[in-house]
């Protein structure tokens, strides 16, 4: 199948070209070229942008701006992004990590998009040429979005505040059964004062574990105290079924892995 690739030096020009029917944005290629190889006839034309600014990582004042074309490998090896590295390393093998981008991860359907789960837990904002929106709003409108994502802004979590877990059946790397990211702020006595927990594979895109977050407030992260939070982990989920696992299986093991992540 033939694909017409259009290359632009600016996001503005590429945004205009992207409005044509059948046109998709080419980032690292791990989603859209894969789709074309698989015979997805809805993809007839590709647009890409060569602006080097899209590949930039800018760390300042405890925050990081990740360009949409920043790869998982670039995040994993960046000395100031140690907190994000486990989530970046969870994506694919070395070749995939050299190609897969932050922007692509935001659009990846479950079971892919493990890094986007981390971004959701961290409360990132998603940036386009003329807007910046909370990541929840981006996910809600993702299917109808035709604007090129130029980056994501993230507040870097403090030491021991952020936890990430990807569960896969193939070791050391495989497609997600599920992934969980948890941002946990705690008082000196260990009591949870605020939290954001995001889950992958529990819907067609990353979602928050809102009931669990609420139940964790005021708890210490002991097996006994987190039990009520784990009991409500399944509220609002609609896990995917794929060759890796059924929706039933994913729902069954979610509280087990969530418990391990929280109590470790």
């Amino acid at each position: 199948m033939s694909l017409a690739l259009q290359t632009f030096s600016s996001v503005k020009d590429a945004n205009a070209a992207l409005q044509a029917a059948g046109t998709r944005y080419l980032g690292g290629g791990t989603l859209v070229v894969r789709a074309a190889n698989e015979g997805d006839v809805s993809v007839s034309s590709l647009v890409r942008v060569t602006d080097p600014g899209l590949s930039r990582i800018a760390v300042s004042g405890g925050k990081v701006r990740l360009g949409a074309a920043v790869t998982m490998a670039a995040i994993a090896r960046h000395p100031e992004l140690a907190a994000l590295a486990p989530a970046a390393r969870a994506v694919g093998g070395p070749a995939i990590r050299n190609m897969a981008t932050v922007g692509g991860n935001l659009f990846a359907p479950a079971p892919y998009g493990d890094f986007a789960v981390a971004l959701l837990a961290l409360g990132a904002t998603v940036v386009t040429e003329d807007s910046e929106m909370p990541i929840e709003a981006f996910f809600a409108a993702r299917d109808g979005s035709r604007a090129i994502v130029t980056g994501a802004n993230v507040a870097l979590p403090g030491t021991d505040c952020f936890r990430f877990l990807k569960v896969s059946r193939v070791k050391p790397k495989g497609v997600s059964v599920l992934s969980i990211a948890a941002l946990l702020q705690r008082a000196p006595d260990g009591t949870v004062t605020s939290t954001r927990i995001a889950m992958g594979c529990m819907a067609d895109r990353p979602i928050r574990a809102l009931a669990t977050e609420k139940a964790l407030l005021g708890c210490k992260l002991t097996p006994r105290e987190i039990a009520p939070a784990l009991a409500v982990a399944g509220e609002g989920i609609a896990p995917i079924t794929d060759p890796i696992a059924s929706a039933w299986y994913r729902a069954e093991v979610l509280p087990v892995y969530l418990g391990r992540l929280l109590s470790n």
């Binding site: 199948m1 033939s2 694909l3 017409a4 690739l5 290359t7 080419l26 690292g28 290629g29 791990t30 070229v33 894969r34 074309a36 190889n37 698989e38 590709l46 890409r48 490998a73 694919g92 093998g93 070395p94 070749a95 995939i96 050299n98 190609m99 050391p172 790397k173």
Partner: protein, 160 residues
């Protein structure tokens, strides 16, 4: 579909070709240029058989469009041997019986080469991680891991 020019360095030699827009690097290498060392396995980014090195980084040629590789330095397994003499990494694969059907071998060797170029003395865990994007259905992986570790030792001894 209009054809577009692509030009890059392949294993040290300048290559120029016209391809249809949207042609993958794998297709360009195998069917246009004639380097059949990268293999087309899954075409989904899952098996790693098409792995090549682009500007020093391991990439999947089945998911890389040839047009995006203009002026790139591309390395494939076909360019490793010099004057018909296998490199230690290739020799180690033969000696360790790390290649059976051989389909995954070029991708495995490319992934291992990137590892050894950057980490001359890797741990077993380093090797497993480096090969984690490459699937082998024959060997059970252990001979491949041992081959890479053997090649690393051989390189270290040669460097000493």
């Amino acid at each position: 579909m209009a054809k577009v020019p692509v030009q890059f360095t392949l294993n040290g030699s300048e290559k120029a070709e016209f391809v249809e827009s949207g042609t993958t690097l794998l297709h360009a290498l195998r069917d246009k240029i004639g380097d059949t060392s990268p293999k087309g396995g899954c075409h989904q980014g899952t098996c790693g058989a098409c792995s090549v090195i682009v500007d020093g980084e391991l990439r999947l040629s089945c998911l890389t469009l040839a047009e995006t590789c203009s002026d790139a330095d591309i390395r494939t397994t076909a360019g490793l041997a010099e004057g018909g003499v296998l490199q230690p990494l290739q020799r180690a694969f033969l000696d360790a019986f790390a290649t059976q059907c051989g389909f995954c071998t070029p991708g495995m060797i490319m992934a291992a080469k990137v590892l050894l170029d950057r980490t001359p003395n890797p741990s077993r865990e380093d090797v497993v991680e480096a090969l984690s994007g490459n699937i082998c259905r024959c060997t059970g992986y252990e001979p491949i891991i041992q081959a890479v570790l053997t090649a690393a030792r051989a390189n270290s001894q040669n460097a000493a």
